[in-house]
């Protein structure tokens, strides 16, 4: 069987490699998805002064630790990209593994946080603030989970020196997930 590649992966009218163009398309749609959600939250937050009371129950220090974790995982993701550019597949795989570790740490902290909140009665149906809180952070967490799984496949390939260009693509996605959290953190935790 010949190793024919689909034509779309070799053709590029934009001057951008097709996989990278694809990830920019995905992120362009993500901007509207997360932006719409956060925009709606922000507008309601301003229109509803009583939300300040509910917002005062979010745990700033947990959000802060998670911000640090995601920033660090973004750093290891970009180092993985750098290693892949130099053709160092094993090093890229190792750095991706660190990034996955960051994702898992983030998710564990998130589970701990949500457990405390749900036990205290702050569930997704408690009121509209908490509905937004769980929807926004939950959608973000789904992105973290998806990214970590895909990164696992890419790391295995990279370790064998295959498909190294994918390290950059998953990196771009991962940085976007980081950027979303950069905005979620002040919106959900800092603005009391």
């Amino acid at each position: 069987m010949a190793h024919a590649r689909p034509i779309a992966t070799t053709r590029s009218a934009t001057g951008i490699p097709t996989p990278r163009l694809a990830i920019w398309w995905i992120l362009a749609s993500e901007v509207v998805i997360f932006g719409g959600l956060l925009g709606a939250y922000l507008m309601h937050r301003i229109g509803h002064p009583e939300w300040a009371e509910a917002a005062s129950h979010t745990q700033t220090w947990i959000g802060a630790v998670n911000t640090f974790v995601l920033l660090t995982s973004s750093f290891t993701a970009v180092l993985a990209h750098q290693a892949a550019e130099k053709g160092k597949g094993k090093e890229a795989a190792k750095l991706l593994a660190f990034t996955i570790l960051g994702a898992l740490t983030f998710l564990m902290i998130k589970s701990y946080e949500w457990t405390i909140e749900i036990m205290a009665g702050y569930t997704i149906t408690a009121n509209t603030f908490w509905s937004f809180y769980y929807t926004a952070a939950g959608l973000h967490a789904l992105h973290v989970i998806a990214g970590a799984i895909i990164m696992g496949f890419i790391a295995v390939d990279a370790y064998r020196g295959r498909e190294l260009h994918r390290v950059e693509i998953i990196g771009i996605y991962w940085h976007f997930v980081d950027v979303v959290w950069i905005f979620l953190f002040p919106l959900l935790y800092i603005a009391k």
């Binding site: 934009t14 001057g15 951008i16 990278r20 163009l21 920019w24 398309w25 992120l27 362009a28 749609s29 901007v31 509207v32 932006g35 719409g36 925009g39 709606a40 507008m43 309601h44 301003i46 229109g47 509803h48 002064p49 009583e50 939300w51 009371e53 509910a54 700033t60 802060a64 911000t67 640090f68 920033l71 660090t72 973004s74 750093f75 993701a77 970009v78 180092l79 750098q82 205290a120 009665g121 702050y122 569930t123 149906t125 408690a126 009121n127 509209t128 603030f129 908490w130 990196g171 771009i172 940085h175 980081d178 950027v179 950069i182 905005f183 953190f185 002040p186 800092i190 603005a191 009391k192």
Partner: protein, 240 residues
């Protein structure tokens, strides 16, 4: 996004894009530190602009650093930037179009009654009841959804007929026949124990041959909460 980012110039035309990633990471960490400490300073000094700038202004600076240096958008073909910019513009159009209606609760010829009531209820709850209850949308939802306290639940549900002091003198109970039980009456407690109280709260008085006017409330409480409710009712019992 603004153009006032001083980290930008040093690699603006660097086609090899040798970014010092560690340096960017350190800058991000410092900005992160400021975004955590700044709002604390803002809260202590009461200067709201400090909170806004350190929390939200810095978020934009951090996002820009990540997008340009980690995602390498700074060196990407222009079409990718336009693609993302189109999304952002659509988003801003959406927000700008909806914001006046969402953020205000009344206009020239309209009034958002539900939103106004929600604000009123929320603020009243925040100042009146305990902290946990402030999230409540209504009396019943408040008890179920937010932090549970037998005393608060009694006050919101039982007291309407049995009275806040458990004397059977709640406003809604005045017209009932038979009258709501008074928990401070020693006669009432003859032959009634904790298990029976739990059963009646859960299944209604009709379940033990009493008045159907005492409705079953089991759906509102967990087993543990039922016991707490019973204990609270028992606390009215005289001579204990």
């Amino acid at each position: 996004m603004s153009e006032n980012n001083e980290q930008r110039d040093e690699h603006g035309h660097d086609d090899g894009h040798h970014v010092n990633y560690f340096k960017i990471y350190l800058i991000l960490l410092v900005l992160f530190g400021i975004s955590v400490i700044g709002p604390e300073v803002g809260a202590v000094t009461g200067l709201r602009w400090i909170t806004l700038i350190t929390a939200f202004g810095i978020a934009f600076v951090k996002a820009r650093l990540v997008v340009n240096n980690f995602m390498h958008l700074a060196w990407e073909q222009r079409i990718a930037k336009w693609l993302l910019a189109s999304s952002l513009i659509l988003l801003l159009l959406f927000v700008a179009g909806v914001a006046p209606d969402v953020m205000n609760h009344e206009g020239n010829n309209w009034e958002n009654v539900a939103a106004k009531q929600a604000v009123e209820r929320g603020l009243a709850a925040a100042s009146g009841y305990s902290e946990e209850e402030a999230e409540s949308e209504g009396p019943l939802e408040g008890v179920i959804a937010s932090g549970f306290s037998a005393q608060n639940s009694f006050g919101q549900i039982c007291a309407t007929c049995h009275g806040v002091g458990g004397e059977g003198d709640g406003a809604a109970g005045a017209a009932l026949d038979p009258a709501p039980a008074s928990f401070i009456d020693p006669v009432f407690w003859q032959g009634r124990d904790r298990d029976r109280i739990i059963t009646v709260i859960r299944d209604g008085a009709a379940a033990v041959g009493g008045s159907a006017l005492m409705a079953p409330w089991g759906a509102l409480y967990t087993d543990d909460q039922l016991e707490q409710m019973a204990d609270y009712v028992m606390s009215f019992r005289p001579n204990q």
